[in-house]
């Protein structure tokens, strides 16, 4: 995914490797030329040629290493340093007094480097420096004719202008394309936001405004008003949670829904705290059902109107505690804790979980449910 405007267009990576690839080819070509011509040229100073080849090969190594983590490729010092090597390579056959030796590929790779770094004009400057070297070097040398030198100069100049303009055009195109892509993404995001806003507005209209209208119709009945307000609050909270949740069917939402249903049916308050969240599955569905049974039991038999529900999604498992401060019961008494054994303990055990019931007469009841997660 692309984010923001990049300073270096991605096409730079491709172009850089084209330049480096050309240099690798040129160094191979250089080696081949040395091998082919020096054997028939006893007058040439072999030391100069050998050292030049070694220097060019070493510098090519530097180039490749640098290309892997480019930092100065497009700076003037790098291009100048690169050029010093290229100019030396270019004039070295004259200095060695070689008759037929001519290195064109490696110097040309510098022209491409300059084109990559700065476009047509630095490349042209590089080509002219190389041309000057050829003209000066060829004076008094029998090995190169004026036509050959003129041809070499022509190749340098044409290559410099073509590569420089080509690189600049590709970069421009790439930048324009990136801007277009970003503009498109921004527009899509804006449209999505507008859509989301419209959805939210429609939802609030259908729910909250309707409820407020209902309340205004008959504000004299406090029970009805309170009931409407509570139902609406819960509905709105669920809606907000659903918008904010990364999970399609979140455990947190399921617990809130369940607690809300028990509140409505049994006219109690459930104080709910959930830490963490995860996607629902069949086993968690059973856990939520067990929690509902625990809430219903507390609502029916505890005699208190406030129940606490605490859920925690950990790395290893999910725990839920349902607690009331009501009448409690003696778990050892036969028939005590109606329905708990089957609907809660049995259900949890069938799904590989556990349920612990702590209760004493007069001290309320706490039911701890635990389920080991399979997905974690």
């Amino acid at each position: 995914m692309r984010s923001g405007t990049r300073d270096v267009p991605p096409i730079d990576d491709t172009l850089r490797w084209v330049v480096v690839g050309f240099r690798l080819l040129s160094i191979v070509w250089m080696g081949a030329l040395v091998g082919a011509t020096l054997a028939d040229d006893p007058g040439a100073h072999r030391g100069v040629v050998a050292w030049t080849l070694a220097l060019a090969a070493a510098w090519t190594g530097v180039t490749v290493a640098h290309a892997l983590r480019p930092r100065w490729f497009r700076t003037a010092p790098w291009v100048v340093a690169d050029g010093l090597v290229a100019v030396w390579v270019s004039v070295s056959p004259f200095l060695a007094g070689a008759q037929d030796l001519f290195f064109g590929g490696y110097p040309l790779s510098w022209v491409l480097m300059a084109a990559y770094a700065g476009g047509p004009w630095p490349a042209l400057a590089g080509a002219l420096v190389l041309a000057a070297g050829q003209v000066v070097g060829a004076f008094g040398e029998a090995g190169r004719t004026a036509t050959q030198v003129a041809g070499d100069i022509g190749v340098f100049v044409v290559a410099a202008l073509a590569a420089g303009w080509g690189v600049a055009a590709l970069r421009r195109y790439d930048r324009a394309r990136n801007q277009a892509v970003e503009a498109l993404e921004a527009e899509r995001a804006a449209r999505r936001r507008a859509h989301d806003r419209a959805e939210i507005a429609a939802h609030l209209h259908d729910s909250v405004l309707q409820t407020l209208a209902l309340i205004q119709q008959d504000p004299g009945d406090p029970r009805r008003v309170a009931g409407l307000a509570r139902g609406q609050e819960r509905e709105l909270r669920q809606y907000i949670e659903q918008i904010a949740s990364p999970f399609t069917h979140s455990l947190r939402a399921a617990l809130r829904r369940t607690a809300g249903e028990v509140e409505d049916v049994h006219l109690v308050r459930v104080d709910i705290v959930v830490v963490g969240d995860c996607e629902m599955d069949d086993r968690l569905e059973a856990l939520v059902q067990a929690a509902r049974e625990a809430l219903v039991n507390a609502a029916r038999y505890s005699g208190t109107d406030t129940i606490s529900l605490f859920g925690e999604v950990g790395e290893a498992g999910v725990s839920i505690t349902v607690r009331d401060r009501g009448s409690g019961f003696d778990p050892n008494r036969v028939g005590a804790g109606r329905g708990i054994a089957e609907s809660i303990v049995g259900r949890m055990e069938r799904h590989g979980g556990t349920a612990e019931v702590h209760s004493r007469p007069g001290e309320g009841t706490e039911i701890d449910l635990h389920l080991v997660r399979h997905d974690a």
């Binding site: 909270r237 907000i240 990364p246 104080d271 705290v273 959930v274 830490v275 963490g276 606490s308 605490f310 925690e312 950990g314 790395e315 505690t321 607690r323 706490e366």
Partner: protein
């Protein structure tokens, strides 16, 4: 029976007039409401002028959130305590307000008696952890042992986590102490220590926490 404790000077910051009127009606008989404000800048100015014992602070404010009020007042008047009060739907804002220096957090469903009680606790320098806040804090700190990765990263001790879990389950400090077979004072110390960690902890947790909640 009259409350033997001295009457608290309380300042209310909330952007809803109706809610402020409700607070005045509900607790005005028990404490002195010395001022009200509906946004960050007027709140900071008035609180500095009136220097209340406790500020009852809404987490959501149009001008930048309650945490800004706590932070800016704290800079000049560290003696003023803050109790955050909000509907409980935005844990990131609640934790921000606690990190900015608030000593506790109650949801707006708290009864007048609970609010007055909490105001006195906060004024006396204690932390007020509602079950909801305990839940938020449990989420805010990493659950895995991160000491090996980053020793600077503050985290809750297993004991602190256990205490918070009890509070999130709706246990009072007294009930928590009984369940853990320790003194109430010990539980209060744990809770204050958690509050302090939350306020002093470095940026790491907040970043991680924000990322976990998809806010980063």
């Amino acid at each position: 029976m009259p409350d033997p404790r001295p009457r608290l000077r309380v300042f209310v910051v909330d952007d809803h007039d109706l809610f402020r009127a409700g607070v005045r009606a509900a607790i005005g008989g028990e404490v002195d409401i010395v001022g009200e404000a509906d946004d960050v800048d007027p709140a900071v100015e008035l609180i500095r002028e009136r220097v209340p014992d406790v500020v009852l602070l809404d987490v959501h404010l149009p001008g930048g959130g309650g945490h800004r009020v706590a932070r800016e007042v704290g800079r000049t008047h560290p003696g003023v305590r803050f109790l955050a009060l909000s509907v409980s739907d935005a844990p990131e804002d609640v934790v921000a307000v606690i990190r900015a220096g608030a000593s506790g957090y109650l949801t707006k469903t708290a009864t007048a008696g609970q609010v007055v009680e909490a105001l006195h606790l906060v004024a006396a320098g204690h932390a007020v952890f509602s079950p909801q806040l305990a839940g938020f804090v449990l989420e805010a700190f990493p659950t895995v042992d991160v000491a090996a990765v980053d020793p600077d990263l503050d985290r809750l001790t297993p004991r602190q986590r256990e205490v918070l879990r009890y509070i999130a389950k709706g246990y009072t400090y007294r009930e928590t102490a009984a369940a853990l077979s320790v003194a109430v004072k010990t539980v209060e110390t744990h809770v204050s220590e958690v509050l302090r960690k939350l306020q002093l902890s470095n940026r790491h947790e907040l970043t991680r926490w924000a990322v976990d909640r998809g806010l980063g």
